[in-house]
Symmetry: C2
Subunit: 394 residues, 2 copies
């Protein structure tokens, strides 16, 4: 990768994004380039640069602030470096499941990467009834490979600790600590829920058992450096088609518990399991099940073939690690279900339901399922049990 | 603190150590200084500088290698910076329990600090029959304050993660990972045990249950950034008298599980509980008990008065944290008992017993107690139960 020396940060324009593409020699000199800003402008600029021969690339630039529901607050540009480094690191293990990175510039907070606009964001597709036959197989593999290969089971302790050190990401972790693990469980200003849900939400705030179990999950998120997690693996961070899956946007990447990504992904599938009509739910249940079973089988294979841990062959240790990861995932999924319903950042799966009664009904289900998963996670021991708990209240 | 600029590392001599003391203006210009190297020369130089008026200071310099049982291998000089920073950080919370640091120099790997030669190393004193009436009260307080105040319960997440980052200590952690958690449980070259113990040691290597539980403890050590631990809190790292206690040598400091320091200290008291004659054991049992109860009561007080964790007041959360810390401590204590008996680094408490039969008997007890604590730690729920398990086989 070429390194372009820049003196200071400034926001790109369509013109300067094109100039950067020429400088990087990603297109022939004679190519005519056009640029279009296709991001939502809340957190990043996303320029799609296209040549007259059809070739396309993405120039993504972090903005020094975040806009969410009208608020604007400063946000570290370092997240662009984290994102690029996570794409590169995870790409070592699953190159077919992440975009190629062509160039990074930490001063400009720019990542130049493969264009994926032939795919759709899986949240949008799922809402529109797509079933994405490869989705859970690919994400299960992504989880197994990225999490195993960045863990102490696969890496020399120096290499692992070097990665922990370089994925130091306190500002974005704090967003998760607040918005996923704290605010929804207290009467916080950031919360955002419909009036009808007020009694249910107040019951959560009074629910000591729920808060105790959530405190334990937050503690895991704060203290357990098990693997390099994506940190924000919802269906909006996944491009998909019937044949391809690509995971994007790992700006929240840091060393955390293995169950975190698994749980967030399962929760975001669960929104679909809840909002879909009866006959269309099964494909989502199957995706949830297949995510775990694929993860479990690939992680187990990697453990047998690639583990450098002295204790890898001790009977029961892999089982312990998988059980812990599953239990954590169930709890983290529960947190995600609740926070996406009553916290600051919602999901369209729920909010786009125009029928008031159905929408409220779905939101009640996500809250109740989330609560159950958090509280009962130590007795939910298999993915079948988890799905049964979901089906019972769905 | 003054900063002396130096260009490169070179070992001090008595003369250059004195020059450094003058430069730092730690003595009046007219004072006549003498220096004496009082370290064992295996890892560090320790110069005691004394003025003709009686004032003394210590100039400690890390050497770029370690010598253990005749072997010599390179060892990072960065450990001097870790040690100094840990003394300073822990000194913010328990200034009366650590030596004062007057100056640090990361290039020279030098720490200039308070002289403590009016005290004795507590391992030596305990072996000679001292009872150190303040020892467990002081160490219990040290543990509560240093561990609480560096945890997520007390610190803003940015501040805590900054500390995690700055106490990045992979090389010294690896020594613990190998010598405490791995080698003694396998047929490793570093192990060192008496022939008579061979059958018992081989039984450990074949003991799947023990290895599984040790794997879990090693995983905690590798992944849980709960607090800034000392990392090597044995009785040889503690200066003591009847009225004073000072904890030294935190070069292994890093962010790890709260139970680690507690367990190592309890294990090192346990060697005394095992080797002492019947009538002299009770004072050690009392120290073990008082270490935990003092830690528990001070940690609980700090939690009530100083916690900034949103979940601090959730019923059951403090109890959960204390129970987890206790269970971890019991397991880590078990590892320490075993590794100090059959691993690379022994303790004099055992090795100085000249009567062969008594020495072997004591070593068998430390191995068996260690095994029991590791395996049964989830059912050993109080400090009284722990002591009962010890007494039963003692």
């Amino acid at each position: 990768m070429a390194i372009v020396q820049t003196k200071e940060y400034s926001p790109l324009t369509e013109q300067t994004a094109i100039e950067l593409a020429y400088q990087l020699e990603l297109f022939p000199k004679e190519a005519e380039l056009t640029a279009e800003e296709i991001g939502d402008g809340n957190l990043n600029y996303v320029f799609r640069i296209q040549a007259n021969n059809g070739k396309k690339i993405i120039v993504k630039q972090a903005l020094p602030y975040a806009k969410v529901v009208g608020e604007s607050w400063p946000l570290t540009l370092h997240r662009a470096t984290i994102e690029a480094n996570a794409l590169i690191k995870h790409g070592e293990f699953v190159p077919h499941l992440v975009p190629k990175v062509y160039h990074t510039d930490s001063v400009l907070a720019v990542t130049v990467m493969e264009d994926l606009s032939h795919l759709t964001i899986s949240r949008e597709g799922l809402i529109n009834g797509e079933s994405y036959p490869r989705l859970s197989e690919d994400i299960g593999q992504y989880l197994a490979h990225t999490l195993f290969h960045t863990s102490d089971y696969a890496l020399h302790p120096f290499e692992k600790k070097k990665l922990v050190h370089s994925f130091h990401n306190p500002e974005l972790c704090k967003i998760t600590e607040d918005l996923v693990f704290t605010d929804p469980f207290f009467n916080s200003d950031t919360n955002d829920f419909e009036d009808t849900l007020q009694p249910l939400v107040e019951a959560l705030w009074e629910d000591n058992e729920l808060k105790l179990e959530t405190a334990k999950l937050k503690k895991s998120f704060l203290t357990e450096t098990e693997a390099l997690v994506h940190g924000d693996l919802h269906t909006g961070s996944i491009f998909a088609s019937d044949t391809t899956t690509k995971v994007i946007d790992p700006e929240f990447a840091y060393y955390g518990p293995i169950g975190f990504d698994i749980g967030q992904f399962i929760a975001n599938l669960t929104f679909q399991a809840i909002v879909r009509e009866e006959g269309n739910k099964q494909v989502i249940y199957d995706h949830i099940q297949n995510t775990w079973t694929t993860f479990e089988s690939h992680f187990s294979d990697l453990w047998q073939t690639h583990s450098i841990d002295s204790y890898a062959n001790v009977e029961g240790y892999l089982k312990f690690v998988l059980e812990k990861s599953f239990q954590d995932a169930v709890g983290f999924a529960g947190c995600e279900l609740i926070r996406r319903t009553i916290g600051l950042a919602h999901v369209k799966d729920l909010d786009l339901i125009s029928n008031d009664e159905k929408r409220i009904e779905a939101k009640k289900k996500t809250i109740q399922t989330g609560r159950k998963w958090i509280i009962e996670r130590s007795s939910i021991q298999t993915i079948d049990q988890l799905i049964n708990v979901l089906i019972e209240s769905n």
